[in-house]
Amino acid sequence: MPQTRAPTAVIADDERLMREQLADALKDAWPELAIVGEAANGHEAIALVQSLEPDVAFLDISMPGMDGVQAAQALAGAVHVVFVTAHDEYAIKAFEQGAVDYVLKPAEVERLRLTCQRVRERVQQDPDPMEALLAQLSQRLGGAGAKPREYLRWVQASVGSNIRMIPTGEILFFRAEDKYTRVQTARFEALIRKSIKELLDELDPEEFWQIHRGTVVRVDAVDQVSRNLAGKQVVHLKGSDEKLEVSRSFTHLFKQM
């Protein structure tokens, strides 16, 4: 990069006051740096970097739509990235490995001088694509990458004409009924359009057990299991008088109970 031209930067943060604060601090810390653009989210930041080709991008980590880490991944190698964050111990740990710098909000002029010095040294070289760091960061922030499987914690169901979000911990059982599946809690019943089969894919198998082709029960809601006159296992629930039959293929579940 030619040294004859003044270095340029863009700032991305969803809060205007934060952008102003950083711009003012940068004015003191690095007077010759020209702030050529400001963005309010990751998408805008990418567009700005692509059209203005600045030397440095100051990216806030938490932004709506697309966050700073995702934007940096998209811009890998196109610009030197400095992350800005209010408080994030994971991010700080990652940055300590030295690939790029980070700035804590509110940005202090003294600290920014060090950042600027680091960036100035780097501007001579091509930007580091930071692949490893970004992958690690985005995983820590809960973005893309290998994540443990997430199960349903809330079920969206209709109660009369309302749509309610029911925490799975309140559900006693699900039962297939015609086109719908009935969701029963201790207080009310609700309907969902998902089939038992679809539900089983999304529910935590530790939390819910299928006990019949059309019945899924929450394990913690089971009060006791008895046998009826026909010799079949019947599940009694806490908080409901309804009894649920266990079909033969699922009787092994209650062997230990």
Partner: protein, 297 residues
């Protein structure tokens, strides 16, 4: 020489007197709580026995005396006994409730570091560019922080007015930071502000609306606090036009806390309902029995 004997006699006498007193009060307690039929039955049996022993008159006098004692003192004694028991039970329950409540409040009162640092950074910027606004924002922050410190919340029962005030402080801060990405509507009738409403619950709902609904939404949106009384229940809604509820993920610790605290405070008489308005976003509603705090003296 007679000294030790007499003191031993005195000791034995005292023991005998104590034993008689204990037996008497046992008998008195039994008499107080025993049912009339049982008393009649025992008297009849005793009478037969006394007849066999040829001494029915003293027994008859004893029975009459018992009946009189039961009539005069029984009711009072019985009431005392059941009151004692009830007090003890209520005390234990109250204690349990207080402990649960204190623990959960402490959990709930944790201030998000992100929120704190971002707000301080905004104030720092406003001090340079707009000092009056900085001062206003700082005052909002102080009001909000005060609410989040459990030891500052002692004393009288919290009212809806106080809770809405604290949420307003939080929303004022967020409105300065998010600018036109956040519109705030407070729709709480003046008359409902003296209603009893548990602390730190509305805050959780409002913070959720911002953090999970509106902050992650590029164009932002609106948050509304609305209160009404329906069938003797006070319903307080927090509506947002944000991203909507994510059914997966481990979030919802705050909501689970609200739910547990409601159950500890009101049992079946209170409820937290999360629903999805037809236009999208999220509506969280807390329903508690409607009661007002007597005017401060």
């Amino acid at each position: 020489m007679t000294e030790p004997t007499s003191s031993a006699q005195k000791g034995a006498l005292r023991e005998l007197r104590d034993a008689v007193i204990v037996v008497w009060w046992r008998f008195f307690d039994w008499l107080a709580v025993v049912s009339w039929t049982k008393l009649l039955l025992v008297s009849g049996l005793g009478f037969i026995l006394a007849g066999i022993l040829q001494h029915p008159i003293p027994w008859l006098m004893f029975v009459v005396a018992s009946v009189i004692i039961k009539i005069i003192a029984g009711g009072k004694r019985r009431a005392e006994l059941s009151a004692d028991e009830a007090t003890q039970r209520a005390h234990t329950e109250q204690l349990q409730r207080t402990v649960v409540e204190a623990r959960m409040e402490a959990l709930q009162a944790q201030i998000e570091p992100h929120f704190l640092f971002n707000t301080l950074a905004s104030i720092d910027q406003l001090i340079r560019t707009d000092p009056p606004r900085a001062s206003k924002m700082q005052q909002s922050l102080i009001r909000y922080l005060r609410s989040a410190m459990p030891q500052m919340r002692e004393g009288r029962r919290p009212t809806l007015g106080q809770q809405v005030g604290l949420c307003t402080a939080f929303l004022e801060i967020m409105a300065v930071r998010m600018e036109d990405r956040l519109q705030v509507v407070i729709n709480v009738p003046e008359g409902l502000k003296s209603a009893v409403f548990p602390s730190m619950m509305l805050q959780t709902l409002v913070e959720n609306a911002i953090k999970h609904g509106l902050e992650p939404k590029t164009e932002g949106g609106r948050v509304e606090i609305r209160a009404e009384v329906v069938d003797g229940q006070l319903a307080v809604h927090v509506l947002d036009t944000g991203l909507g509820f994510a059914p997966k993920g481990e979030g919802g610790v705050g909501l689970a806390n609200v739910r547990e605290r409601l159950a500890a405070l009101y049992g079946e008489r209170a409820e937290l309902v999360i629903s999805v308005p037809p236009a999208g976003g999220t509506c969280a509603t807390i329903q508690v029995p409607y009661e007002t705090v007597p005017a401060a003296t």
